[in-house]
């Protein structure tokens, strides 16, 4: 018994503050939040349980459905954009060339800036005025002879949310580049040489050697960008503002419900967001957990 305490005690002592804190702040509060979402809580005052009423009214609310649709479109655009630019930049840089550091540093720098700060400039760039009063990108497009590309950006009801993905792609593509670059550099040279010896064409080399080696990196990239994307909030608040209809997502809906004092509804939106993220993250964590144990 004593030996057990001696071997178990110290590690538990070191790790226990974290276990308590995360146990309360993550798992405990998720539980409380789900509980709150089943009540009629207004500004902290609960009178009764209402079952799933908050959820059913959310899923019959056109604005909330629209916000989920926006979230899905934004996620697809954000993932496609960051993976595309991240991969292309890494691919252009991977064989090493003079000035690599300058390109790498520049492509990555937007990552260090907050979404709120970049939102300031992107609101200016994505100004929806066209023609004579065009400013920002619309003016710029006109100046380089691409005036026909002028559009209303994030104020469009169908496609507007995709404009919000532009600053997000600008900020995170460098990160994905860094991931892919690490992936490229992790591929042993012998592997490429062997494939070349066998007379593989460049395309076959990529298809059968390089892409398979990069797939774990691509998975990490998808997980990181995907879960960031599902939480999008700051950028929308600073580019479009909280009440703008065309850029509503669950996070802004949650904030609006909170400011109206509808805590139960806000809690229900929080739970929906958790489920959406968990669908993506839990399989990934389970997969990691299994491979850790197999180590």
């Amino acid at each position: 018994m004593l030996t057990k305490v001696r071997s178990w005690g110290p590690p538990l002592l070191l790790i226990s503050p974290t276990l308590v804190l995360l146990g309360v702040f993550v798992y405990g509060l998720i539980g409380v939040n789900i509980n709150t979402s089943l009540t009629d809580n207004i500004r902290g005052q609960t009178t009764k349980y209402v079952g799933l009423e908050n959820y059913t009214s959310l899923f019959t609310d056109d604005t909330f459905i629209y916000s989920l649709r926006n979230l899905a479109m934004y996620t697809v655009a954000f993932l496609a954009g960051t993976l595309f630019f991240g991969f292309v930049w890494a691919w252009l840089l991977e064989r090493g060339l003079r000035g690599e550091g300058i390109f790498r540093t520049t492509y990555l720098f937007p990552m260090a800036v907050s979404f709120v700060a970049s939102g300031v400039v992107w609101r200016w760039l994505l100004n929806s005025n066209t023609g004579e009063s065009a400013s920002g990108l619309n003016r710029g497009l006109d100046m380089i002879g691409l005036g026909f590309l002028q559009n209303s950006w994030w104020t469009d009801e169908t496609w507007g949310i995709l404009a919000i993905a532009m600053p997000a792609i600008w900020q995170l593509s460098g990160y994905i580049m860094a991931l892919f670059l690490a992936g490229f550099r992790g591929i042993p040279d012998e592997l490429r040489e062997a494939a070349r010896m066998d007379g593989a064409s460049e395309w076959k080399l990529y298809r059968h050697v390089i892409f398979p080696q990069l797939s774990p990196v691509a998975l990490s990239a998808i997980i990181i960008i995907g879960h960031m994307s599902l939480k999008v909030f700051d950028l929308i608040m600073s580019v479009a503002g909280q009440t703008n209809y065309t850029t509503q997502v669950p996070a802004t809906q949650m904030w609006l419900a909170f400011t109206r004092g509808e805590y139960a509804v806000a809690a229900a939106i929080g739970t929906v967001m958790l489920v959406v993220v968990a669908v993506m993250i839990v399989p990934y964590l389970v997969h990691n957990y299994r491979s850790e144990r197999g180590r």
Partner: protein, 295 residues
């Protein structure tokens, strides 16, 4: 580790050009690569150009027609107005992010060591449960969190945000340190163990002095993410007692669009994280990698 792979800008051995036609083709391909890289470089820098230029424009100069031009006259009133609004918040933000980074890094080091080296039953499960806290949308705990902080009597503003950034920074710090300690040579720890040192002494005397690189990565990571946070800030503070992202949002979302002050403000608010990125870029990238690729 992957980190070094990114930083080693060692060009891969250039394939020996066997014939002149081949070297000619190689030259064209290199020129093409540079051309693309430079085009992307310019695109990435456009928002930075806009921020810089507009921040020095007077109201009359910031008209749509002159949107992309340099200022007719370099005018610093926007910077002065931005500084007046943001400077109190800057001090508060430093007072928030520095202690929060230090505390969560310390706890993260303890956890990382235990999880990497002192295997106990279910260590991997505990690690996975800790990691989940990194991915959750904080909206899923926000409503009970607001109530909890009120019940605990933690004042809104910097005190609340300190608690939140410390707690929710724990998963990433644990992850970074776990990967870091997994790379510390086993014999160093074994040597200490043979000497009869207990785990707590091993940690304090052997491990902590070795941990500087891990601390640099977690401190930078925590500094940047707490500095750039907007979500917790908007729920737990206001423009009078909150961090710089809140003040910047307040400055930029006024009814009268004061573009020069907002853009100057965005630059001021980004300055600390950009400096960290430029000076400590290597470790910044290290943190990014640790947040994704497993060692």
């Amino acid at each position: 580790m992957t980190t070094q792979l990114v930083d080693e800008a060692t060009p891969a051995p250039t394939r020996a050009a066997q014939s002149t036609s081949r070297s000619g083709r190689a030259r064209t391909s290199r020129t093409l690569r540079y051309l693309l890289l430079i085009i992307f470089l310019i695109v990435v820098l456009i928002p930075a150009y806009v921020l810089f230029v507009t921040s020095f424009k007077s109201a009359g100069d910031a008209t749509p027609t002159r949107a992309w031009q340099l200022p007719t006259e370099w005018y610093t009133d926007g910077w002065a107005r931005a500084w007046d609004t943001l400077s109190p918040a800057l001090g508060r933000t430093f007072a928030l992010v520095i202690p929060a980074s230090i505390v969560s890094s310390m706890l993260g080091a303890m956890n990382g060591f235990v999880l990497a080296r002192w295997r106990f039953p279910y260590a991997d499960l505990v690690f996975t449960l800790i990691l989940f806290g990194m991915f959750i949308p904080y909206q899923a705990v926000m409503i009970p969190l607001v109530e909890l902080m009120q019940n605990l009597g933690v004042p809104s503003g910097i005190a609340s945000l300190f608690v939140l950034h410390t707690v929710f920074g724990l998963p990433i710090c644990t992850l970074i340190f776990r990967n870091y300690y997994a790379s510390v040579p086993e014999d160093m720890i074994e040597a200490a163990r043979v000497d009869g040192a207990g785990m707590l002494r091993t940690f304090a005397l052997i491990i902590l002095p070795l941990s500087a690189p891990g601390f640099v990565v977690t401190l930078i990571w925590q500094f940047t993410s707490a500095w750039n946070d907007f979500l917790f800030a908007i729920f737990f503070s206001n423009a009078q007692n909150g961090p710089v992202t809140i003040s910047l949002n307040f400055l930029a979302s006024g009814q009268l669009q004061d573009y020069s002050a907002s853009m100057a403000g965005a630059l001021i608010a980004s300055f600390p994280t950009l400096i960290v990125y430029i000076i400590l870029g290597r470790w910044f990238v290290g943190g990014l990698m640790a947040g994704s690729v497993k060692s």
